[in-house]
Protein backbone atom coordinates (compact mmCIF):
# COMPACT_ATOMS: atom_id res chain seq x y z
CA UNK A 1 0.00 0.00 0.00
CA UNK A 2 1.41 3.39 -0.90
CA UNK A 3 1.12 6.61 1.04
CA UNK A 4 -1.37 9.07 -0.35
CA UNK A 5 -0.31 12.67 -0.72
CA UNK A 6 -2.73 15.08 0.88
CA UNK A 7 -3.86 17.95 -1.28
CA UNK A 8 -6.82 19.84 -2.54
CA UNK A 9 -7.95 22.81 -4.55
CA UNK A 10 -5.64 25.24 -2.72
CA UNK A 11 -2.60 22.96 -2.38
CA UNK A 12 0.59 23.74 -4.32
CA UNK A 13 0.46 22.14 -7.72
CA UNK A 14 -3.30 21.72 -7.65
CA UNK A 15 -5.17 21.66 -10.93
CA UNK A 16 -6.76 25.05 -11.43
CA UNK A 17 -8.86 24.12 -14.42
CA UNK A 18 -12.59 24.31 -13.99
CA UNK A 19 -14.12 20.96 -13.13
CA UNK A 20 -15.30 19.04 -16.16
CA UNK A 21 -18.98 19.02 -16.91
CA UNK A 22 -20.88 15.79 -16.46
CA UNK A 23 -21.57 13.56 -13.52
CA UNK A 24 -19.81 14.50 -10.30
CA UNK A 25 -17.13 12.13 -9.14
CA UNK A 26 -17.65 10.84 -5.64
CA UNK A 27 -15.18 8.89 -3.53
CA UNK A 28 -17.50 5.90 -4.14
CA UNK A 29 -17.44 6.07 -7.93
CA UNK A 30 -16.60 2.68 -9.35
CA UNK A 31 -16.55 0.97 -5.98
CA UNK A 32 -18.64 -2.01 -5.05
CA UNK A 33 -21.27 -2.06 -2.35
CA UNK A 34 -19.77 -3.36 0.84
CA UNK A 35 -21.99 -2.99 3.79
CA UNK A 36 -23.02 -4.99 6.75
CA UNK A 37 -26.11 -5.33 8.83
CA UNK A 38 -26.03 -4.76 12.59
CA UNK A 39 -28.97 -7.14 12.92
CA UNK A 40 -27.10 -9.91 11.13
CA UNK A 41 -24.04 -9.24 13.31
CA UNK A 42 -26.24 -9.61 16.41
CA UNK A 43 -26.98 -13.19 15.39
CA UNK A 44 -23.36 -14.04 16.24
CA UNK A 45 -23.82 -12.75 19.80
CA UNK A 46 -27.16 -14.15 21.02
CA UNK A 47 -26.12 -17.85 21.13
CA UNK A 48 -22.95 -17.17 23.20
CA UNK A 49 -24.42 -18.80 26.33
CA UNK A 50 -24.39 -22.14 24.50
CA UNK A 51 -20.59 -22.04 24.86
CA UNK A 52 -21.04 -21.66 28.63
CA UNK A 53 -23.33 -24.69 28.53
CA UNK A 54 -20.68 -26.66 26.61
CA UNK A 55 -18.08 -25.69 29.21
CA UNK A 56 -20.34 -26.70 32.10
CA UNK A 57 -21.07 -30.04 30.44
CA UNK A 58 -17.36 -30.65 29.92
CA UNK A 59 -16.59 -29.79 33.53
CA UNK A 60 -19.45 -32.11 34.57
CA UNK A 61 -17.79 -34.92 32.63
CA UNK A 62 -20.34 -35.20 29.83
CA UNK A 63 -18.59 -34.74 26.50
CA UNK A 64 -21.59 -35.88 24.42
CA UNK A 65 -23.80 -33.13 25.84
CA UNK A 66 -20.93 -30.67 25.39
CA UNK A 67 -20.81 -31.77 21.75
CA UNK A 68 -24.54 -31.11 21.48
CA UNK A 69 -24.08 -27.56 22.82
CA UNK A 70 -21.21 -26.94 20.40
CA UNK A 71 -23.26 -28.33 17.50
CA UNK A 72 -26.18 -26.03 18.30
CA UNK A 73 -23.81 -23.06 18.61
CA UNK A 74 -22.06 -23.95 15.31
CA UNK A 75 -25.40 -24.21 13.47
CA UNK A 76 -26.44 -20.77 14.76
CA UNK A 77 -23.07 -19.18 13.91
CA UNK A 78 -23.05 -20.72 10.42
CA UNK A 79 -26.63 -19.49 9.98
CA UNK A 80 -25.53 -16.00 11.08
CA UNK A 81 -22.68 -16.05 8.55
CA UNK A 82 -24.97 -17.09 5.70
CA UNK A 83 -27.55 -14.49 6.73
CA UNK A 84 -24.93 -11.74 6.77
CA UNK A 85 -23.66 -12.74 3.32
CA UNK A 86 -27.25 -12.93 2.08
CA UNK A 87 -28.02 -9.43 3.38
CA UNK A 88 -24.96 -8.02 1.54
CA UNK A 89 -25.94 -9.87 -1.67
CA UNK A 90 -29.52 -8.62 -1.43
CA UNK A 91 -28.30 -5.03 -0.97
CA UNK A 92 -26.12 -5.30 -4.07
CA UNK A 93 -29.14 -6.67 -5.93
CA UNK A 94 -31.29 -3.76 -4.75
CA UNK A 95 -28.63 -1.19 -5.58
CA UNK A 96 -28.69 -2.16 -9.27
CA UNK A 97 -31.27 -1.51 -11.89
CA UNK A 98 -30.29 -4.74 -13.63
CA UNK A 99 -29.28 -7.79 -11.64
CA UNK A 100 -29.40 -11.55 -11.64
CA UNK A 101 -30.56 -13.21 -8.42
CA UNK A 102 -27.84 -14.55 -6.09
CA UNK A 103 -26.85 -18.05 -7.22
CA UNK A 104 -27.26 -19.52 -3.72
CA UNK A 105 -30.19 -18.53 -1.44
CA UNK A 106 -28.04 -17.70 1.55
CA UNK A 107 -30.74 -16.13 3.71
CA UNK A 108 -33.03 -19.14 3.33
CA UNK A 109 -30.25 -21.55 4.31
CA UNK A 110 -29.40 -19.15 7.15
CA UNK A 111 -33.03 -19.43 8.34
CA UNK A 112 -32.89 -23.24 8.16
CA UNK A 113 -29.63 -23.40 10.14
CA UNK A 114 -30.95 -20.91 12.71
CA UNK A 115 -34.06 -23.10 13.11
CA UNK A 116 -31.90 -26.21 13.53
CA UNK A 117 -29.67 -24.47 16.10
CA UNK A 118 -32.61 -23.22 18.13
CA UNK A 119 -34.25 -26.66 17.97
CA UNK A 120 -31.07 -28.27 19.31
CA UNK A 121 -30.78 -25.65 22.08
CA UNK A 122 -34.46 -26.13 22.99
CA UNK A 123 -33.96 -29.89 23.18
CA UNK A 124 -30.93 -29.42 25.44
CA UNK A 125 -33.01 -27.09 27.60
CA UNK A 126 -36.29 -29.01 27.82
CA UNK A 127 -35.54 -32.60 26.74
CA UNK A 128 -38.76 -32.43 24.71
CA UNK A 129 -38.55 -33.17 20.97
CA UNK A 130 -41.97 -31.54 20.49
CA UNK A 131 -40.75 -28.31 22.10
CA UNK A 132 -37.56 -28.51 20.07
CA UNK A 133 -39.52 -28.84 16.82
CA UNK A 134 -41.88 -26.00 17.70
CA UNK A 135 -39.11 -23.61 18.77
CA UNK A 136 -37.04 -24.52 15.72
CA UNK A 137 -39.92 -23.89 13.31
CA UNK A 138 -40.75 -20.63 15.10
CA UNK A 139 -37.13 -19.46 14.86
CA UNK A 140 -36.91 -20.26 11.13
CA UNK A 141 -40.20 -18.45 10.48
CA UNK A 142 -39.12 -15.40 12.51
CA UNK A 143 -35.80 -15.36 10.63
CA UNK A 144 -37.61 -15.44 7.29
CA UNK A 145 -39.78 -12.47 8.34
CA UNK A 146 -36.92 -10.49 9.93
CA UNK A 147 -34.48 -10.87 7.01
CA UNK A 148 -36.89 -11.69 4.19
CA UNK A 149 -36.06 -14.43 1.66
CA UNK A 150 -33.41 -13.87 -1.01
CA UNK A 151 -34.35 -12.25 -4.32
CA UNK A 152 -35.14 -15.11 -6.69
CA UNK A 153 -35.73 -13.41 -10.06
CA UNK A 154 -33.64 -11.34 -12.41
CA UNK A 155 -34.77 -7.75 -12.59
CA UNK A 156 -34.57 -4.96 -15.14
CA UNK A 157 -34.18 -5.22 -18.90
CA UNK A 158 -37.84 -5.63 -19.73
CA UNK A 159 -38.47 -7.85 -22.69
CA UNK A 160 -35.23 -9.79 -22.32
CA UNK A 161 -35.38 -13.35 -21.08
CA UNK A 162 -33.20 -16.38 -20.66
CA UNK A 163 -29.79 -16.21 -22.31
CA UNK A 164 -30.25 -12.67 -23.64
CA UNK A 165 -30.98 -11.47 -20.11
CA UNK A 166 -28.01 -13.37 -18.69
CA UNK A 167 -25.74 -11.93 -21.38
CA UNK A 168 -26.93 -8.37 -20.68
CA UNK A 169 -26.50 -8.79 -16.92
CA UNK A 170 -23.02 -10.28 -17.43
CA UNK A 171 -22.02 -7.36 -19.68
CA UNK A 172 -23.18 -4.80 -17.15
CA UNK A 173 -21.53 -6.59 -14.24
CA UNK A 174 -18.29 -6.91 -16.23
CA UNK A 175 -18.43 -3.20 -17.02
CA UNK A 176 -18.79 -2.37 -13.32
CA UNK A 177 -15.92 -4.71 -12.44
CA UNK A 178 -13.65 -3.04 -15.03
CA UNK A 179 -14.52 0.41 -13.66
CA UNK A 180 -13.72 -0.80 -10.12
CA UNK A 181 -10.38 -2.25 -11.24
CA UNK A 182 -9.48 0.99 -13.00
CA UNK A 183 -10.26 3.03 -9.87
CA UNK A 184 -8.26 0.63 -7.69
CA UNK A 185 -5.24 0.78 -10.04
CA UNK A 186 -5.37 4.60 -10.12
CA UNK A 187 -5.29 4.61 -6.30
CA UNK A 188 -1.81 3.09 -6.51
CA UNK A 189 -0.34 6.36 -7.83
CA UNK A 190 -0.80 7.90 -4.37
CA UNK A 191 -1.74 11.18 -6.05
CA UNK A 192 -4.95 12.72 -4.84
CA UNK A 193 -5.45 14.98 -7.85
CA UNK A 194 -4.98 12.11 -10.30
CA UNK A 195 -7.29 9.87 -8.27
CA UNK A 196 -9.97 12.57 -8.45
CA UNK A 197 -9.63 12.80 -12.24
CA UNK A 198 -9.90 9.03 -12.54
CA UNK A 199 -12.91 9.25 -10.21
CA UNK A 200 -14.54 11.61 -12.71
CA UNK A 201 -13.73 9.18 -15.52
CA UNK A 202 -15.25 6.35 -13.47
CA UNK A 203 -18.36 8.47 -12.89
CA UNK A 204 -18.64 9.09 -16.66
CA UNK A 205 -18.31 5.36 -17.34
CA UNK A 206 -20.83 4.60 -14.57
CA UNK A 207 -23.26 7.03 -16.20
CA UNK A 208 -22.93 5.15 -19.52
CA UNK A 209 -23.56 1.83 -17.76
CA UNK A 210 -26.54 3.30 -15.91
CA UNK A 211 -27.89 4.56 -19.24
CA UNK A 212 -27.56 1.02 -20.66
CA UNK A 213 -29.51 -0.32 -17.69
CA UNK A 214 -32.31 2.10 -18.38
CA UNK A 215 -32.25 1.49 -22.12
CA UNK A 216 -31.23 -2.13 -22.73
CA UNK A 217 -31.77 -1.73 -26.47
CA UNK A 218 -28.51 0.24 -26.46
CA UNK A 219 -26.51 -2.74 -25.21
CA UNK A 220 -25.97 -3.98 -28.76
CA UNK A 221 -24.72 -0.54 -29.82
CA UNK A 222 -22.55 -0.23 -26.73
CA UNK A 223 -20.90 -3.62 -27.20
CA UNK A 224 -17.74 -2.01 -28.56
CA UNK A 225 -17.79 0.62 -25.83
CA UNK A 226 -17.68 -2.15 -23.25
CA UNK A 227 -15.05 -4.13 -25.16
CA UNK A 228 -12.77 -1.24 -26.18
CA UNK A 229 -13.23 1.70 -23.82
CA UNK A 230 -13.51 -0.03 -20.51
CA UNK A 231 -10.98 -2.78 -21.11
CA UNK A 232 -8.59 -0.16 -22.56
CA UNK A 233 -9.13 2.24 -19.65
CA UNK A 234 -8.58 -0.54 -17.12
CA UNK A 235 -5.48 -1.90 -18.91
CA UNK A 236 -4.00 1.59 -19.20
CA UNK A 237 -4.56 2.25 -15.48
CA UNK A 238 -2.97 -1.07 -14.49
CA UNK A 239 -0.04 -0.63 -16.88
CA UNK A 240 0.76 2.95 -15.84
CA UNK A 241 0.32 2.17 -12.14
CA UNK A 242 2.79 -0.72 -12.43
CA UNK A 243 5.26 1.47 -14.36
CA UNK A 244 4.87 4.26 -11.78
CA UNK A 245 5.39 1.92 -8.84
CA UNK A 246 8.56 0.64 -10.47
CA UNK A 247 10.10 3.96 -11.47
CA UNK A 248 8.37 6.59 -9.26
CA UNK A 249 8.72 8.83 -12.32
CA UNK A 250 6.30 11.82 -12.18
CA UNK A 251 6.39 11.86 -15.98
CA UNK A 252 4.59 8.50 -16.04
CA UNK A 253 1.82 9.91 -13.82
CA UNK A 254 1.60 13.01 -16.03
CA UNK A 255 1.25 10.91 -19.19
CA UNK A 256 -1.43 8.79 -17.56
CA UNK A 257 -3.18 11.98 -16.42
CA UNK A 258 -3.25 13.24 -20.04
CA UNK A 259 -4.72 9.91 -21.20
CA UNK A 260 -7.36 10.10 -18.45
CA UNK A 261 -8.38 13.56 -19.60
CA UNK A 262 -8.69 12.34 -23.20
CA UNK A 263 -10.71 9.34 -22.12
CA UNK A 264 -12.98 11.52 -19.99
CA UNK A 265 -13.77 13.79 -22.93
CA UNK A 266 -14.45 10.79 -25.18
CA UNK A 267 -16.63 9.08 -22.61
CA UNK A 268 -18.79 12.20 -22.45
CA UNK A 269 -19.10 12.35 -26.26
CA UNK A 270 -19.84 8.64 -26.40
CA UNK A 271 -22.60 9.08 -23.87
CA UNK A 272 -24.20 11.77 -25.98
CA UNK A 273 -23.94 9.63 -29.14
CA UNK A 274 -25.38 6.65 -27.29
CA UNK A 275 -28.30 8.74 -26.06
CA UNK A 276 -29.02 9.97 -29.59
CA UNK A 277 -28.60 6.50 -31.09
CA UNK A 278 -26.08 7.92 -33.56
CA UNK A 279 -24.31 4.79 -34.74
CA UNK A 280 -21.86 6.55 -37.11
CA UNK A 281 -20.70 8.94 -34.39
CA UNK A 282 -20.20 5.99 -32.05
CA UNK A 283 -18.06 4.12 -34.58
CA UNK A 284 -15.92 7.21 -35.17
CA UNK A 285 -15.48 7.75 -31.43
CA UNK A 286 -14.44 4.16 -30.92
CA UNK A 287 -11.95 4.21 -33.78
CA UNK A 288 -10.40 7.42 -32.43
CA UNK A 289 -10.14 5.89 -29.01
CA UNK A 290 -8.69 2.64 -30.33
CA UNK A 291 -5.96 4.61 -32.10
CA UNK A 292 -5.26 6.58 -28.93
CA UNK A 293 -4.96 3.41 -26.87
CA UNK A 294 -2.74 1.83 -29.53
CA UNK A 295 -0.49 4.87 -29.24
CA UNK A 296 -0.22 4.16 -25.53
CA UNK A 297 0.65 0.55 -26.30
CA UNK A 298 -2.41 -0.75 -24.49
CA UNK A 299 -4.30 -2.40 -27.31
Amino acid sequence: MTARRFGGQYSPGAQTAAPAAGPRATPWSGRRVRSTSVRALGLYVWPTLLLVGALRALVGGDPLIAGGFLGAWAALILGAGLTRAGVVAAREYEARAVAAPPAFPRKLFGAALTGAGVAAAAWLGTASPVNAGLFGALAAALHAVAFWPDPMRSKGLDGLQGEALDAAVTKIETARRLIGEMTAAAGRFGDRGLAERVGRLAAEAEAVVAQLERDPAGIGRARRFLAVYLVGARDAAVKYAAAFEESRDPDVAARYGALVDDLSAQFARHRAALAEGDRTALEVEIDVLRDRLKLEGVQ
Binding site: L50, F69, W123, G125, T126, A127, A139, F147
Partner: protein, 36 residues
Amino acid sequence: MLKGVAYLTLACLIALTSCQAAFAGPAPAVLAATVR
Protein backbone atom coordinates in the same frame (compact mmCIF):
# COMPACT_ATOMS: atom_id res chain seq x y z
CA MET B 1 -41.91 -2.52 11.90
CA LEU B 2 -42.94 -6.16 11.39
CA LYS B 3 -39.36 -7.06 10.53
CA GLY B 4 -38.10 -5.31 13.67
CA VAL B 5 -40.55 -7.14 15.92
CA ALA B 6 -39.71 -10.47 14.26
CA TYR B 7 -36.00 -9.80 14.73
CA LEU B 8 -36.35 -8.88 18.41
CA THR B 9 -38.48 -11.98 19.04
CA LEU B 10 -35.91 -14.14 17.26
CA ALA B 11 -33.05 -12.60 19.26
CA CYS B 12 -34.93 -13.25 22.54
CA LEU B 13 -35.78 -16.80 21.45
CA ILE B 14 -32.14 -17.62 20.67
CA ALA B 15 -30.82 -15.99 23.84
CA LEU B 16 -33.45 -17.52 26.14
CA THR B 17 -33.24 -21.07 24.75
CA SER B 18 -29.44 -20.81 25.01
CA CYS B 19 -29.70 -19.54 28.59
CA GLN B 20 -32.14 -22.24 29.63
CA ALA B 21 -30.07 -24.99 28.02
CA ALA B 22 -26.87 -23.71 29.64
CA PHE B 23 -28.16 -23.15 33.18
CA ALA B 24 -31.49 -24.93 33.66
CA GLY B 25 -31.33 -27.87 31.29
CA PRO B 26 -32.38 -31.34 32.39
CA ALA B 27 -29.86 -33.88 33.59
CA PRO B 28 -27.85 -35.63 30.85
CA ALA B 29 -29.54 -38.93 31.73
CA VAL B 30 -32.96 -37.42 30.98
CA LEU B 31 -31.70 -36.10 27.63
CA ALA B 32 -30.25 -39.46 26.76
CA ALA B 33 -33.57 -41.12 27.56
CA THR B 34 -35.41 -38.94 25.03
CA VAL B 35 -33.10 -40.11 22.24
CA ARG B 36 -33.75 -43.84 22.85
